[in-house]
Every structure is written in structure tokens, then in C-alpha cells.
């Protein structure tokens, strides 16, 4: 019953958020205009462009990237058995940013920034696989620090790509297009893939000794969990940049709502992550509209600047309400 209530609540929240995104913007559109544009017979060509080319891709990419970040967060936390881990722990986001900077230095103004980000993210994930056998979290954090330093070095050599890179480092959903949605949509398959690993993660959560005693494959299982985590993080970073906090706070919030069983945690976190990122983006966009002279669709407030502002109070509220220990030994 509680599950059903949560599912219905989540569905309503998604619908409300999508609706809000479709209505908020510089051009005030009547509900009938938006509906007509969505259904494919817009009363004015401009309506169709505003709703279908600008507003809808932005909210869809935001929902997808949020779900991917949260899913990646659940997986990373599961594999290192540490609730403070998050997608950034893998160094994938920093790898993407470095690749973007380097590509812009080599070929200024090229249009394949997203491709560079994806390749950088996947390369960072691959490096983590090669080097992280002994201590995954530490290796990931160190890789992230090295990529961050190299990014700074590159920007000191040539600060031209600074604006693009900053949006990438903070995370932004400004000016997303249908092409961005087409690029990120297939990666949403990593969410069901993560769910298929749920029972492995449940067993792995009991500690390596117990898990091996239960028949979990000691090398293959964590590698599979980490692999899906890296793919989801890479896709999210490519779509929205290295947005902080969603991958940390969404799994926590989900755990407080549905418990730590990954069979429920994965879908719950994915939905919460989608809601969180998209809601933060709505705030970012609304604030941008109020800024004098800004072009909110392109150079407005990046969503990454807002996620922590929304996520942190949410997490504090949930922690205070449940007052549950975050990690617990058998003794």
C-alpha cells in the first residue's frame, strides 16, 4: 500500500514538474497553447518551437540525467559499501571535464563537446577499472584530483574555453536540444540494468566475507556493479555536466523512504534523482528569468549551482526525521 502511494506520488510529481517546465519561460503560453503544441497542432509555429524544441528537451534531459546520477550513486555506494560515496567518487565527471577542455584547446569551438565528454568519462572509468583493484574509492578520488589539476593547468595555458568548461564542471541544462535527449535516452537502459543487479548488491552489502560465503563472485560482481555505475555516470555527465549532490542525496533520500533493499532502492532513487535535478533546474531557470539582461535559455544560472541549495535542506530534513544510524556493525 505504501509502495503504491509512493509510486502514485512520484508519478504525480513527475507530471507536475514536466507541466511546470513547459509553462515557465520568457514567452507566457496559455495551457491550451502548450497542449496544442504537444499534440502536434500548434496554433502558431513559434509555440511548437518553444514547447517541443526548447522546453520539452530541457525537462526530459534533466529527468534523465537526474535518474542516471542517482542510479550511479546507488551503485557506487553499494560497491564500496559507503553511503558517502557518489558518482564523483569514480572520477568519471572530472575525466569528462578534462576531455572537454583538451578537445576545445585542440580544436576551438568544435561542435562535438558532448562526444569529447562521453569519451573522457568512459576513459576515466576504464582507468579506474585498471588501477582500482585494491582500493576503488581512493583510486577514484585520486584520479578525479589528477584530472582536476590537469584541467586547471589546461585552462591556465589558454582560458578561452573557460565558459564552456565552467558550465561543464558545475553542470548545466541550459539550451538542451532534442539531439541531447536522443543522445541520453538510450543510456536510461542502465537503470533497469542496475535493478537487475539488485540482489547481487543486497548480498554484497553484507560484507565481502559473508557475500563470498553466499556464493557471490568476488571479482565479477563488484566489477559488474561498477561497470554499470560508470556507464550511468558517464551518460549523466555527458548530458548535464558534473552536477554535484544529486548522486549523493537521491540515494539517501530514497533509502529513508523505502529502506536499503536495492530492489526498491534502485527505482526509488532513480525517480527521486530525476525529480531533484529537474526541480533544481526549474528553480535555476526561474531565477535566470529575473536576472537583468541574461539569456536564460543559454547563459542562465547553471542547475549545478542550485542542486545543493535544494538537496542539502532536503537531506537534513530527512535525516532529522528518521534519526537512523547510517552504518551499523553487527555488534
Amino acid at each position: 500500500m505504501r509502495t503504491l502511494a509512493l509510486a502514485v506520488g512520484a508519478a504525480l510529481a513527475v507530471v507536475a514538474l514536466v507541466a511546470a517546465h513547459l509553462f515557465v519561460g520568457r514567452s507566457a503560453l496559455a495551457p491550451g497553447d502548450v497542449a496544442a503544441a504537444l499534440l502536434g497542432h500548434a496554433r502558431e509555429p513559434a509555440h511548437e518551437i518553444i514547447v517541443l524544441r526548447f522546453r520539452l528537451p530541457r525537462v526530459l534531459v534533466g529527468l534523465a540525467a537526474g535518474a542516471l546520477l542517482a542510479t550511479s550513486g546507488v551503485l557506487v555506494q553499494a560497491v564500496v559499501r559507503n553511503p558517502l560515496a557518489e558518482p564523483a567518487t569514480t572520477g568519471v565527471g572530472s575525466g569528462a571535464a578534462l576531455a572537454v577542455v583538451v578537445s576545445l584547446l585542440v580544436a576551438p569551438g568544435h561542435p562535438y563537446v558532448a562526444v569529447a565528454a562521453l569519451l573522457g568519462a568512459l576513459a576515466a572509468g576504464g582507468l579506474l577499472f585498471v588501477l582500482g583493484r585494491r582500493s576503488l574509492a581512493l583510486t577514484g578520488i585520486l584520479l578525479g584530483a589528477v584530472f582536476g589539476s590537469l584541467t586547471s593547468f589546461a585552462l591556465v595555458l589558454d582560458s578561452a574555453p573557460m565558459g564552456t568548461v565552467l558550465r561543464w564542471l558545475v553542470g548545466s541544462l541550459n539550451a538542451r536540444t532534442t539531439g541531447d535527449w536522443d543522445a541520453v535516452a538510450p543510456w536510461l537502459l542502465t537503470v533497469p540494468l542496475a535493478w537487475l543487479l539488485a540482489s547481487h548488491m543486497n548480498a554484497w552489502a553484507l560484507g565481502e566475507t559473508t557475500a563470498v560465503g553466499l556464493g557471490v563472485r568476488r571479482l565479477l560482481t563488484p566489477a559488474a556493479i561498477l561497470g554499470v555505475a560508470v556507464l550511468a555516470a558517464a551518460a549523466a555527465v555527458t548530458a548535464a555536466g558534473a552536477v554535484a549532490f544529486v548522486g549523493l542525496v537521491a540515494p539517501h533520500a530514497a533509502r529513508m523512504l523505502v529502506g536499503s533493499d536495492h530492489r526498491r532502492l534502485v527505482p526509488a532513487a532513480a525517480v527521486l534523482g530525476a525529480l531533484l535535478l529537474s526541480a533544481a533546474d526549474l528553480v535555476a531557470f526561474a531565477v535566470s528569468l529575473e536576472l537583468p539582461g541574461a539569456r536564460p535559455d543559454v547563459a542562465g544560472v547553471p542547475v549545478g549551482a542550485v542542486t545543493a541549495l535544494i538537496g542539502a535542506p532536503l537531506l537534513v530534513h530527512l535525516v532529522r526525521r528518521s534519526a537512523r544510524p547510517t552504518l551499523q556493525e553487527r555488534g
Binding site: 559499501r81 553511503p83 535493478w195 537487475l196 539488485a198 540482489s199 547481487h200 543486497n202 548480498a203 552489502a205 553484507l206 560484507g207 566475507t209 559473508t210 563470498v212 560465503g213 553466499l214 556464493g215 557471490v216 563472485r217 568476488r218 533509502r255 529513508m256 529502506g259 536499503s260 533493499d261 530492489r263 537512523r324 544510524p325 547510517t326 552504518l327 551499523q328 556493525e329 553487527r330 555488534g331
Partner: protein, 276 residues
């Protein structure tokens, strides 16, 4: 009636007079971490349907031996065999259907309930895909009943006492419904009554044909509840046999450095040591 006269240590690896063929056997295994060898060319055969206690001072290698028997640690040389087949040649989940392990320390995820923990014991039998459905089965219910935590099934582990939590972990191991059960200090965290409940449960499981190997710190409990006591010191088996043959003043002095008398326990007649 006392038997405080020093008796010589029995020779190592005396085969015990136990019924049944060996179900689990370490065959000259050498086990170590990094550059330290903990066990060297150690052999131990465990007969089906018996309860064996591994005893020894801290650092004697008893937990390492248990981990090797559970294939959690792979021996550098030698092999652990299950019904004659080396464990390394068996799929790990197939081993988990035969051998359950309760490690010394484990972590539970935050917020997990007793039922969710015990359900994990069904992983080897059901497999990862079937485990994607939340279902209770008879094995889970039996395990919850036998460990006396059925009434706590929907409580979160974090809200339980240390003893209740330990019994929930034992229920998880029992839910595997294996024929071999390996317990590493299972009485830790339990109060005296629950220690005795657990050891009696071990006795009943043994009577039903289960093979139990447990690391115990309390020598008197080992003598009373095990068919066979294996004493380790510095990675070697220094005494092995029926409790009467192993729990002797000479062994207590030689292995544990305790000066003690050994008297028959007035209830069970098993040896019982009292420090001098």
C-alpha cells in the same frame, strides 16, 4: 573425582573416532595473508554429522582455518575438498548450497530488517534472478523460528540488542539450509542464556545430520557441546580428538598457558576446567 595429573599431549592430527566419511577436508593447506603464513601444510578432515570445535589462543589460526574451509581464503598450496572435490573446482554458488558461513564480523546495510537479512541466506538456493522477487519461503520461516527471532522479523536490525542481532545473522546462515555449517565465534555478543540456546541448537542440528565446525573461545563450552575439539597454536594443530582427550591440564598449560584442574562436568560428564 579429579584428573589433575598432567597427561601428555596427544599426537597431532589423531583421527577421531567419529561416524561417517569426511565431508569437508583440508589437505595439507598453506594459507597466509601477503607475506605472513598463518597455516602451513595443515590437514584436517571433518566427518559428516559431527560437531567440531576449533580452539586456541588469539592468533593461533583458527579463524583462518575456518575461512579456508569456507573458501573465503584460497590456500596457496594444498586443497580444501568437499566430498573429495577441491572447492576451487566447484562453482562458488554450488559451494554455498552445501556450506554456510557465519563470519566473525559483518556489516548490515542501514535500515535492513531481520527478514531482509535472513532472505539473503536464500541467495545460493534461489539464485540472483529469482532473488529479484521478494518472497518468503519455508526455509526462512524455519530459520527465524529456530533462532527465536520470528517475532522480530519485521524489526530493523538497528533497533535490536546485540544478542538479537547475532541470532538474526545465525538465522541467515541457517536459511541457506546447507549440510555444513561454519561458525566463527557464534556466541560473541550473546548473553549466557542465549549462548546456551545457540549451543543447544547446534547440538540439535548435529543430531539432524548437519556437520558443524565452530570457532569457540570458551573451552568448557567446546568440551561440552562438540564431539571433537581441535586445538591450534601458531598455525599448527597441537591436539585433536574427543573432548576428554584434548581438554587436559597439560594442554591447558601448553597451549593456553593456564594452570588448571580438569573435572568432569557433573551434568554431562564432559571435561570442565577450573583455573587453579
Amino acid at each position: 573425582m579429579t584428573s589433575s595429573l598432567p597427561t601428555p599431549l596427544p599426537p597431532p592430527s589423531t583421527p577421531p573416532s567419529t561416524p561417517g566419511a569426511p565431508v569437508l577436508a583440508a589437505d595439507r593447506i598453506t594459507v597466509g595473508y601477503r607475506d605472513a603464513l598463518v597455516l602451513e601444510a595443515l590437514s584436517l578432515a571433518v566427518a559428516a554429522g559431527t560437531a567440531t570445535a576449533l580452539v586456541g589462543p588469539n592468533g593461533s589460526g583458527k579463524s583462518t582455518l575456518l575461512a579456508a574451509l569456507a573458501r573465503v581464503l584460497a590456500p596457496r598450496s594444498g586443497a580444501v575438498r568437499l566430498d573429495g572435490t577441491p572447492l576451487r573446482d566447484l562453482p562458488t554458488r554450488a559451494v554455498a548450497r552445501r556450506i554456510a558461513l557465519l563470519p566473525q564480523t559483518s556489516t548490515a546495510p542501514p535500515g535492513a530488517t531481520v527478514r531482509e537479512l535472513v532472505e539473503q541466506g536464500r541467495y545460493p538456493q534461489r539464485g540472483p534472478w529469482a532473488m529479484l522477487r521478494r518472497t518468503d519461503d519455508a526455509a526462512m520461516e524455519r530459520a527465524l523460528e529456530r533462532t527465536g527471532v520470528a517475532h522480530l522479523a519485521d524489526r530493523r536490525l538497528a533497533t535490536l540488542s546485540g544478542g538479537e542481532r547475532q541470532r538474526a545473522w545465525i538465522a541467515m546462515a541457517l536459511a541457506q539450509e546447507t549440510d555444513v555449517l561454519l561458525l566463527d565465534e557464534p556466541t560473541t555478543y550473546l548473553d549466557v542464556r542465549h549462548q546456551l540456546d545457540l549451543l543447544r541448537l547446534v547440538g540439535r542440528l548435529r543430531d539432524e545430520g548437519m556437520t558443524v565446525v565452530m570457532v569457540l573461545h570458551d573451552l568448557n563450552q567446546a568440551a561440552r557441546y562438540a564431539d571433537r575439539v581441535v586445538a591450534l597454536r601458531e598455525g599448527r594443530i597441537v591436539a585433536d580428538g574427543a573432548p576428554e582427550a584434548v581438554v587436559t591440564p597439560a594442554l591447558l598449560r601448553g597451549v593456553f598457558e593456564i594452570d588448571a584442574v580438569v573435572v568432569p562436568d557433573p551434568v554431562s560428564g564432559r571435561p570442565h576446567f577450573v583455573e587453579r
